[in-house]
Every structure is written in structure tokens, then in C-alpha cells.
């Protein structure tokens, strides 16, 4: 399940997708909008995405996860547009026979998304806004 969407993410749908008779572990990571960053108060977030490429990026990351771990299902969903504080911006979910694989693969999934997916976060605070850069995604030509 790979999605880029403006609508709020429905966790029950994600969970239903991931759950499987073959899975002993279902792990759902949710990334939520935090009210502080870099010593300042955050009002809300805005995300933008190059959707066509982001979906391909999710598929690529999922393939890498399957190369490394035995998994049942994988879900990667990211919202775009305005995200209020404490709302879910991103979901990375996996199901697997065993929890070790589920934990490792899920972590890998969100880390890889943060490094490579063409998605951008703008932080809106008192007095302005700023496009952020994930340290893991920095590039020098």
C-alpha cells in the first residue's frame, strides 16, 4: 500500500491491509507533527511532494526491505498539504512472521524515506516559515 494523499490517514485501513494470518507481528510507525523544533514553537507543517516519483521511491524502498527481511505486507503513506500539530504526517507499516524482522524493516523504511523520498516539509512558526532539510538527505554535487 503506497500513497501520497491530502486526506488524513486512516490507521484502521492501514492495519487491515497489513494484518495477515501469516504475520505474528504488525508494526505501524506514525510520524506526527511536533510543536517545537530548533528552539522555536511550531504552528503547523506543510508538505509538498513530487508524487509520481515519491510513489516509485516507496516501491523501491519496499523492494530493498524485502531483499533484507522476510516480510508479509508493507505500507508507506505520506500526507501532503497542511498538517496540524499532533496529526499524522507519515505512516510506515510492516507485517512479518516475527517481531525482529518487523522492527528492523520498519525502521529501515522510515529512515530510507527520510533520506530519499522527494517530499518536502515547510515549518510554519511565529514570523515566518522555512523549508527543512533532513540531515540524511543532504547532497553535494
Amino acid at each position: 500500500m503506497f500513497d501520497i494523499q491530502a486526506a488524513p490517514i486512516r490507521l484502521e485501513s492501514v492495519y487491515s491491509f497489513l494484518a495477515s494470518p501469516r504475520a505474528g507481528a504488525v508494526l505501524v510507525f506514525t510520524g506526527t507533527a511536533r510543536d517545537h523544533n530548533d528552539g522555536r514553537s511550531v504552528h503547523h507543517l506543510e508538505y509538498e511532494s513530487y508524487a509520481e516519483m515519491a510513489l516509485k521511491s516507496f516501491a523501491l524502498i519496499a523492494a530493498e526491505m524485502r531483499e533484507r527481511w522476510r516480510l508479509e505486507k508493507i505500507a508507506m503513506i505520506h500526507r501532503v498539504g497542511k498538517i496540524e500539530i499532533a496529526e499524522i504526517a507519515v505512516v510506515v507499516g510492516v507485517s512479518a512472521a516475527h517481531r525482529q524482522e518487523a522492527f528492523d524493516a520498519c525502521r529501515y523504511g522510515i529512515d530510507a524515506l527520510k533520506a530519499d523520498a522527494p517530499i518536502w516539509k515547510k515549518e510554519l512558526f511565529d514570523g515566518g516559515g522555512e523549508w527543512l532539510a533532513n540531515p540524511e538527505g543532504l547532497f553535494k554535487e
Binding site: 516519483m53 505520506h78 527520510k114 517530499i119 518536502w120 523549508w131 527543512l132 554535487e141
Partner: protein
Amino acid sequence: MKVKIRFFASLKEQLQLSEAELELSGTPCVSDVRAALAEAYPAIAPQLPSTRIAVDHVFVSSEHVVGPGAEVALIPPVSGG
């Protein structure tokens, strides 16, 4: 030959432009495209070294040859998640 350029996030905001056409000569590689972009859009030239380039939805190296009609996306430092 013409290629389609896509701008996002900080670059899109800076230029007030989400896409454009770029005219290139010969068989340009990505380095040539970077040089052409710096010339066509000097306002974003300082950001280009830290901007990744994707051609038709795939990250490519500087040596990658760009064909006519390709979609060249400028990917500023990402911040998903």
C-alpha cells in the same frame, strides 16, 4: 532539444514557477543541464550544488545523458517524514 524542468518546494517558491521548458543543444549530460539551469535561472544558481537531479523519476549521476522530452526534476534537500 527540449526538456521539461520541474521545480519544487524552496526552488518553486523562489522562482514562483513549478515547471518550465529548457532548450539544450547536442547530447547533454546532467552536468550540462545544471550549467544551463544556472544560466537560465541565476536566482537559484547558489542552491544547485545541493540540489539533486532526477530524470524521469529516477535519481541520476552527473554523467547521465539526457534525451529529448525528458522530465528533469530539481530535488532540493528532502524533508519527508
